[in-house]
């Protein structure tokens, strides 16, 4: 019964994931060459050379494990590629380094305290590497013979012949092995592994040499090469798990499904301490390696003073991840206080940070980015349409221009054209307002809107600030 359930779970997992086109889905790395010099256009990155070079240096330091306990701040105007650089960094670090991305406002939740949310995010960004080792026998089945002893007694005799490309050997089988071989329906031509410690049999597939044994095979039939080398192998598998995952397993009260439902609630600090000491023990014995990962906090100005002082303390710990923050604020009020500070971050934390500025894109760079986005969104655009779009991007914002790509391509498709022309872009430009024109419209007709206090203009930005 259990095996059936397990097989079903595997089937569900094997369905290919549908890739969404997100705002930063075109980014595949930082676009640096081997000597960390940024290439003009590479891996979806355009311009922003100084910031990318700085990110490259940070990347190298993370790889060498030298930067733990410090933080990086990406500061720049909206739409200058702060999140893009963080995403590129994550891609360049590879799948083995834990990378947690969160928005600053994510910590405000009713279910857990702010510090708990931050602690979980920090522990999600620290990985430990452990190794499993097993002795296995791997080979292609040449023949399986199971005989009942004469007289119909219970004892059965079995013999299994296995081969690799280099050798062949016989095994006499006990009753238990015979049972599990029969259960797995192992037959000549299968490639199997047998775990020496547990005796578990795993069918890898059928050998290519036997591919023509039958005319019709089921869909599940998988063909593999006959294994090479020795029969008795040592298999070593290295896993990377995050500290948070270990926390969750040890804190659950209602079965291990808690890990998948996502609703883990708060984790007791005693459990964390126990796990820390266990991991320290493993490291002492050489059984585990720490991998300090990266915690990326977008919109970091949304954190409040409590979070900042907590982070200040957390960065001191010897197993702290690299914290990368991004903010688009200038000198503003620190949330939770009445003090003003650069980037809305207290000076003592700012002092610990490496600050990387991003600057607005040039005209040429904007054109390049729009071009990349067109490719990403599968949209053919004529050269003059791209020129118009670049003008739009310089005069309004890059985000607005990117929004117009898909809408313009939809308009073009409606008139059954394969390419987006200048007229399509102009049409969507008139259909969808950008922020400036919307504001202008409101100013013109504010008397006709409801609940209007007739203020407009100068007072509006202040009202947007978050009230405490």
């Amino acid at each position: 019964m259990a095996s059936i359930a397990a097989a079903q779970v595997q089937e569900v997992r094997s369905i290919t994931r549908i890739e969404r086109i997100g705002a930063h889905s075109h980014i595949r790395g930082l676009g640096l060459d081997d000597s960390l010099e940024p290439r003009a256009v590479s891996q979806g990155m355009v311009g922003q050379k100084m910031a990318r070079k700085a990110a490259g240096v940070i990347l190298q330091m993370i790889r060498e494990g030298k930067i733990a306990g410090r933080a990086v701040l990406l500061a720049g105007q909206p739409g200058t590629g702060k999140t893009a650089i963080a995403m590129g960094l994550a891609q360049a670090l590879g799948p083995d380094t834990p990378f947690t991305s969160m928005a600053g406002s994510e910590i405000y939740s009713l279910e857990m305290s702010k510090t708990e949310a931050l602690t979980q995010a920090i522990r999600k960004s620290i990985g430990i590497r452990i190794k499993e080792e097993s002795e296995i026998i791997e080979g292609e089945v040449v023949e399986v013979v199971v005989e009942r002893a004469a007289g119909g007694g219970g004892a059965r005799v079995g013999r299994l012949t296995l081969k690799t490309t280099d050798m062949e050997t016989n095994y006499d089988l006990g009753a238990k092995m015979i049972d599990s071989l029969l259960k797995e329906k192992v037959q000549a031509g299968d490639v199997i592994t047998i775990d020496k410690a547990t005796g578990k049999i795993n069918k890898l597939g059928r050998s290519f040499a036997r591919a023509r044994d039958y005319d019709a095979t089921g869909q599940q039939a998988r063909f593999v090469q006959c294994p090479e080398g020795e029969l008795q192998k040592r298999k070593e598998v290295v896993h990377t798990v995050t500290l948070h995952e270990v926390d969750v397993i040890n804190s659950r009260t209602h079965g291990f499904l808690a890990l998948f439902s996502g609703d883990t609630g708060e984790i007791k600090s005693e459990i964390r301490e126990q796990i820390n000491s266990k991991v320290a023990e493993w490291r002492e014995e050489g059984k585990a390696e720490m991998i300090p990962g990266v915690l990326f906090v977008d919109e970091a100005h949304m954190l409040d003073i409590e979070c900042f002082s907590f982070l200040n303390r957390a960065l001191e710990s010897e197993t702290a991840p690299v914290v990368i923050m991004a903010t688009n604020r200038g000198i503003t009020r620190i949330r939770g206080t009445n003090y003003r500070s650069p980037h809305g971050i207290p000076l003592d934390l700012l002092d610990r940070m490496i600050i990387v500025p991003t600057t607005p894109y040039s005209h040429q760079e904007l054109r390049e980015i729009l071009n990349i986005r067109c490719e990403e969104e599968d949209c053919q655009m004529s050269a003059d349409a791209l020129t118009v779009l670049t003008r739009v991007a310089t005069e309004t914002s890059l985000r607005y221009a990117i929004q117009l790509i898909t809408t313009a391509s939809l308009v073009a498709r409606r008139r059954k054209a394969t390419e987006v022309s200048m007229e399509d872009v102009k049409k969507v430009y008139s259909l969808f307002l950008d922020e400036h024109r919307s504001e202008q419209f409101l100013k013109e007709y504010q008397d006709e809107f409801m609940f209007d206090d007739g203020a407009g203009g100068d007072n509006a930005p202040q009202m947007m600030e978050v009230s405490q």
Binding site: M167, I249, N250
Partner: protein
Amino acid sequence: MMDQDQEKVLKYLVLVEKLAEEILCDRREIVLLDKRRNQNREALRNLTKSNQQKCWLTVGSVLIKHNTEVARSLLEKDQKQLDIDINKLRCDLKVKVNNLRDLEMQPPVPGLMLVPMSLKETEGLSKAGIIP
């Protein structure tokens, strides 16, 4: 100047090739040792099944008739030595592979030198589905 560079490159290539050859040699050696280990195992099994007092042993190209008991102890001793040899080769292989990668300017294999966890320690993790 040119000559010096060439010499340097040649030296480097010799170093890499030598190490790579050694690794391939060791791999081959492990396969041969495992082959002998499996043959010995088959022989031991057949000795327990047969009820004869004496048996034939091949030493090189010579056949020797020997006491079954003595033959068995010889084989068992050989098995033990084979296990030790294979394990030693495997351990050395790891160091050599890392050295080669270092020469080829590749990062070392992550976690290669870790001490493996015991079955009991990984049980909790695999039960929770974190590791397969």
